[in-house]
């Protein structure tokens, strides 16, 4: 069982052996949603996804809207029901488990969502928001409150933020709060669902640096969902490309973004413009040469 | 669209049926000894039993309901326990009065609310504050109190309208107008207060949407954008509120008819309620529910016509 990850992913090297079994492992995962209308067939969103994340590793999941990338993250978090296939965390099945078991998993798996405006309850003080995961895991209220200040330090926010409401903060600051909340109980895996997509360019960079620094310090693993290959490339050890519910390509970030095998990956890569007019012109020509011939 | 209307009509019919079962069961709960009530305490028990049996009260509830339903689908709602009048006939005599009252109220409410609401929503500023103030006052006072005030001011003090009485339109059209105007206005005030607020806030909401800016950026005149696009978007929630207000107005009509002495269903209800004349009460409840269901159906169809997305759900 613990060799599956190595077999499928492009292993980091033969010397690592089998000691590092995956922390998270999805196998042939299917998820479907009810179709629109009464008798519409169910819509298949994920069609047999197999993916693993090892301890301390960042796996990027890239795709366009409707590819199912966010759904995969939500399935791992238990927010959408799994139709078939398995999700294993640290050797234990976690797909379709009881509410109680799922609640206990909150200690190990945390989340940072895309939209920093709706991922924080607008009527709760930052301090209460940050204490929430601790309280959920049974930490007494007083101790939970006491730990909040240290959390704010870790994401470089002022301590007096505790007594303020989310609306008093900018998008980037709110995302720091969301990250601090995810860190509150030292999880082993954080599912990051487009955590920097709603941010300005410069803010995006600082939040990414924060995520990297946290990983280096705590050894937490990230499942990093994004539509932006350049963000994923900078943050991930390994990248999987999702198209219409299926993984079309998977590999080391460096190799996949330099020399992709699959035409869809190539297309994604060439479609994203770079901020250099000369290079961009070359890429545009290359893209037109490769794709405009066969697509109307 | 037709399928949508039929589906809605079907669910409306189910609603009427379920309410008829509920109403029939609840109204039969206290098991009234009608024979004793009618014949007085001195009458011998056999006579009382005989009378009750004649009204069918000795049979099980389900059988009584089945009989009632079988007759009701043929428009026969039974007879009054006390006067033996045909319920259908009494309702048919009074329904036109109530329906014309409700029709007038709905028309006045819809027109006035949309004019005020759009005006306030588009103009904002002082106009808006005035419309909102009127809304709060209309909403704040119980509707029958407004009715009483209007009677005192317009009928008793100013003498513009008769305070009491009803002239059928067949007898005199102007007479009918003078007797129905005050009741219609009295019932419309609270409804206008509610609906115009909704129109106003939906107009403001739709005006703030992106597509309105884009339409204006195409060079379309602002009034055209308001009347063709904004109003259409704002109409859906406003119509829903109007349909809800209609149910409330139907209840308000009971009091208004009583105050003005209009020979409608409301006045009839009050009269029969105090006596506990179940067949008549049952008839009134069913007719009211039927009217509400028909109005809701019309609103649903109108909303679906205005809003293509609503047809899907």
């Amino acid at each position: 069982m613990n060799t599956t990850g190595e077999q499928r992913g492009e292993g980091p090297g033969p010397d690592l052996g089998t000691a590092h079994r995956p922390l998270l492992e999805a196998d042939a995962l299917h998820v479907s949603f009810p179709g629109r209308g009464r008798r519409a067939p169910r819509k298949e969103v994920l069609r047999g996804i197999s993916l693993s994340v090892r301890p301390g590793e960042t796996v990027g999941l890239v795709g366009e809207s409707g590819s199912g990338k966010s759904t995969f993250g939500r399935a791992v978090l238990g927010l959408v029901p799994v139709a078939s296939g398995t999700v294993t965390f640290d050797g234990t099945r976690i797909d379709n488990v009881s509410r109680r078991a799922r609640r206990a998993l909150g200690r190990d798996i945390q989340v940072v969502f895309q939209d920093p405006y709706t991922s924080l309850n607008p009527s709760l003080l930052i301090g209460d928001t940050l204490a929430e995961p601790l309280i959920a895991q049974g930490v007494p209220k007083e101790r939970a409150r006491a730990g909040v200040g240290a959390l704010l330090d870790r994401v470089a926010l002022p301590r007096d933020a505790v007594h303020r409401l989310p609306r008093e903060f900018s998008g980037g600051q709110r995302q720091r709060v969301a990250i601090a909340r995810a860190l509150a109980i030292s999880p082993r895996l954080i599912v990051c669902d487009e955590p920097v997509s709603a941010l300005d360019l410069t803010t995006q960079r600082t939040v990414m640096d924060l995520l990297l620094e946290i990983q280096e310090r705590t050894g937490v693993a990230y499942l990093f969902v994004s539509h932006d290959l350049s963000v994923v490339r900078a943050l991930s050890h390994r990248v999987a490309v999702l198209e219409r519910g299926e993984i079309v390509e998977e590999g080391d970030a460096e190799r996949l973004t330099r020399d992709p095998d699959h035409p869809y990956t190539r297309r994604l890569l060439l479609s994203a413009p770079v901020a250099d007019p000369v290079r961009q012109q070359e890429r545009r020509r290359e893209r037109e040469r490769q794709f405009d011939a066969d697509t109307p | 669209m037709l399928a949508f209307a039929l589906r809605r009509a079907g669910s409306g019919l189910t609603l009427v049926l379920v309410i008829s079962v509920l109403a029939h069961t609840l109204l039969a709960l206290p098991d009234p000894d009608v024979g004793r009530q009618l014949l007085g305490p001195a009458a011998p028990q056999e006579l009382v039993d005989e009378h009750n049996a004649a009204l069918g009260l000795d049979r099980p509830l389900a059988v009584r309901y089945a009989d009632w339903l079988a007759a009701a689908v043929r428009f026969d709602l039974g007879h009054s326990w006390f006067t033996n009048e045909s319920v259908t006939q009494s309702l048919a005599n009074r329904l036109p009065v109530t329906l014309s009252l409700m029709g007038g109220v709905t028309l006045v409410t819809a027109v006035v609310s949309f004019v005020l609401g759009v005006w306030a929503g588009v103009r904002r500023g002082a106009v808006d504050s005035a419309v909102q103030a009127v809304g709060v006052i209309g909403y704040a006072l119980p509707s029958f109190l407004i009715t009483l005030i209007m009677v005192i001011v317009f009928a008793v003090q100013l003498g513009w309208f008769p305070a009491v009485g009803y002239t059928p339109p067949g007898v005199s059209l102007t007479g009918w107008l003078s007797t129905i105007t005050l009741p219609v206005l009295a019932l419309s005030v609270p409804a206008v207060a509610g609906v115009s607020q909704q129109v106003r806030s939906s107009v403001i909401d739709v005006l703030g949407r992106d597509h309105v800016r884009t339409l204006r950026a195409r060079g379309l005149p602002f009034p055209r954008v308001v009347f063709r696009h904004v109003l259409r978007g704002a109409a859906t929630p406003a119509l829903t509120v109007l349909a809800m207000q209609f149910v409330g107005m139907l209840g308000g009509a009971v009091i208004v008819e009583q105050i003005f002495g209009l020979p409608g269903i409301g006045a009839m209800t009050v009269q029969y309620t105090t006596r506990g004349d179940i067949p008549v009460i049952m008839g009134v409840v069913m007719v009211s529910v039927l009217v509400v269901v028909v109005v809701n159906l019309l609103v649903d169809v109108l909303v679906a016509w205005l809003n293509p997305k609503a047809r899907l759900s």
């Binding site: 301390g56 366009e64 | 696009h229 309620t273």
Partner: protein, 588 residues
């Protein structure tokens, strides 16, 4: 009722609520009036000078006098005492109804909204059924069966108004069920009951308090109405019954109607006013002011700036443009601060900046469509030699569409959901160019083909929700170019789209520019987009242009430090992260 208590008990979570309540005259006055009435009525047995039912027929209709401050009623009873005692039944009856409605509606609404599923279906159906019943008719029917029992009738009334709580709570909760913070709470391991208590109740609390005040007013009205009809509580003194007696004698003593009418009106009005004041106090979530609101952009004061000769040659010329949002206190927030821009025919100018830089405001001012509250303080905007600043609605209408056109950011929300794509395209064609219906349709099909939509016939007949985002953006571009404008203002036209679609849309813009010689003002935050399509670029920061030049020069040799910061943040040249190594090796 208990609205004020509830509000203050919940104070820790929203410390400002109590203070805001105290600062609102409407709230304080209505609460005071309500409080006085409740206290007077509650103390009725102590302060009423007479027994409410002691009649002295000989003194009927006597005017006010010592000991009888409001006079005597048609049966010779003391009006003041009856008023005080009558309020007890009116208010207590309404309280019962509200309590029942809360108890029935709120838990059901919470469960239905949060869990959904069969309970939701069933409860929704049941409450819809209740809503189809006219309350007054049902109350009368109940009265027919149950006899004159005021309390039972009030319980029934409570059940009849419960749907208003149910629907309110259910829709609020159902809307927030999709909120990310609720998902997050689930991931943290919060149980459903805890989520209800922590997140859901906080959100529905304010609407419930407001609705309670409204329903209380409604219950008082209905209860008094029942009493007025004489089918309520029998002999008890109530405001409704007093009104009834007074109304029968209205010709003899109209003043008798005043007191119970005033009591009823004051109570009811105080409740509604309190509800509206509470709405302002409790629902203040600090929504961003003014932005997002549309726009009857007002002409600024003063004469329109004159148009210089050089501005006539440029297609778009912006000179010293300052846009501000005035506050109520007289100060103003400047969002754009004296900027200069120029777009020539056949040229794409990129306007680059981060959120809050004022780039979108600049775009709107070119269209003369600043959001409500915003105004051009200084400067001039000329399009094709015509002044936009201070121009009348008629001039602007003529320019929009045919001289300057607009492509928005979010394709879906910019199409009216009630109209087909065909309607969207033909309306300006018919209105502005005066084409016939058939001709406009032909032209619309042509336009759709020009924006590379292959099945134009089908798209023309589709409603916005039936097409994809990329398709909708093509439709919007087709609409923008339909009346052959000289200048296109495109506000982040590809931000909401996938990269592959973005590349196609950018190619489309490029070809439109080449084929039609259009000038484009392209607002974007994406330097890659600038590199792809723009000829020149202006970098905007906090309402000022910090750098301005050819796209190639600015992107390859930036002069302003801010531009350099922006370019440094671009990830194009960031090395990929290396392969994963187990942690032990890393720390060794």
């Amino acid at each position: 009722m208990s609205a004020i208590d509830t509000a203050s008990r919940n104070a820790p979570a929203r410390r400002g609520a109590v203070r805001r309540f105290a600062a609102s005259p409407r709230a304080v006055v209505s609460a005071l009036v309500l409080g006085t009435i409740v206290v007077l009525v509650a103390l009725a047995p102590v302060i009423a000078p007479h027994d409410p039912n002691t009649a002295d027929l000989g003194r009927a209709f006597d005017p006010p006098e010592a000991g009888h401050p409001l006079g005597l009623d048609p049966a010779g009873r003391d009006v003041w005492s009856r008023l005080l005692h009558g309020g007890r039944f009116t208010l207590a009856g309404a309280a019962v109804a509200v309590a029942v409605a809360l108890a029935a509606g709120v838990p059901a609404g919470l469960a239905a909204g949060y869990r959904g599923g069969w309970f939701d279906t069933l409860a929704d159906w049941w409450f819809n059924l209740t809503m189809a019943l006219p309350a007054m008719v049902v109350l009368l029917a109940s009265r027919a069966v149950l006899g004159p029992t005021v309390w039972t009738l009030m319980v029934i009334l409570g059940l009849l108004v419960a749907p208003s709580f149910f629907r309110l709570v259910r829709s609020t909760v159902a809307a927030m069920r999709g909120e990310l913070y609720v998902d997050a709470a689930r991931v943290f391991g919060l149980s459903d009951t805890r989520i209800m208590g922590r997140h859901v109740l906080v959100v529905v609390r304010a609407p419930i308090i407001i609705q309670t005040a409204l329903v209380a007013g409604m219950a008082i009205g209905l209860q008094a109405g029942l009493e007025f009809l004489g089918i309520g509580s029998g002999d008890l003194p109530t405001w409704g019954a007093m009104l009834n007696e007074a109304f029968t004698n209205v010709h003899r003593d109209p003043l008798l109607m005043l007191w119970p009418g005033l009591a009823l009106g004051l109570t009811s009005a105080a409740l509604v006013l309190l509800a509206s004041a509470l709405r302002d106090v409790l629902e203040d979530r600090g929504a961003p002011a003014a932005t997002g609101r549309r726009a009857r952009s007002r002409a600024t004061g003063g004469p329109a700036p004159s148009v210089s000769a050089e501005d006539r040659t440029a297609l778009l010329s912006v000179r010293g443009l300052t846009i501000a949002y005035p506050h109520d206190d007289g100060s103003a927030k400047q969002v754009v601060n004296g900027i200069d821009l120029e777009v020539r025919r056949g040229e794409i100018l990129g306007l680059v900046g981060e959120s809050g830089s004022g780039k979108t405001q600049t775009a709107f001012s070119v269209l003369g469509l600043l959001p409500e509250g915003g105004r051009v303080e200084k400067g001039s905007v000329t399009v094709d030699g015509q002044q936009i600043v201070g121009a009348g609605e008629r001039t602007l209408r003529r320019l929009r569409g045919s001289t300057v056109a607009y492509v928005p950011q979010e394709p879906m929300s910019n199409l009216d959901p009630a109209f087909t794509v065909g309607d969207h395209l033909t309306e300006p064609l018919r209105h502005k160019l005066g084409l016939s219906r058939a001709r406009a349709r032909e032209r619309a099909l042509e336009l759709l083909r020009q924006v590379e939509i292959s099945d134009a016939e089908r798209v023309l007949a589709s409603y916005p929700h039936q097409i994809s985002g990329g398709m909708a953006q093509r439709v919007l571009i087709a609409g923008a170019v339909s009346c052959d404008p000289d200048l296109l203002v495109a506000d982040e036209p590809t931000t909401a789209l996938d990269v592959t679609v973005q590349a196609e849309i950018l190619a489309l813009l490029r070809s439109l520019r080449t084929e039609r010689g259009m000038g484009v003002l392209l607002v974007t935050h994406d330097l890659g987009v600038v590199a792809d399509v723009c000829d020149r670029v202006a970098v905007l920061r906090e309402g000022r242009i910090v750098e301005h030049g050819s796209a190639e020069r600015v992107l390859t040799a930036p002069e302003a430090p801010y531009t350099r910061d922006l370019l440094d943040a671009v990830l194009d040249n960031t090395p990929a992260r290396g392969p994963w190594r187990p942690r032990e090796e890393e720390t060794r």
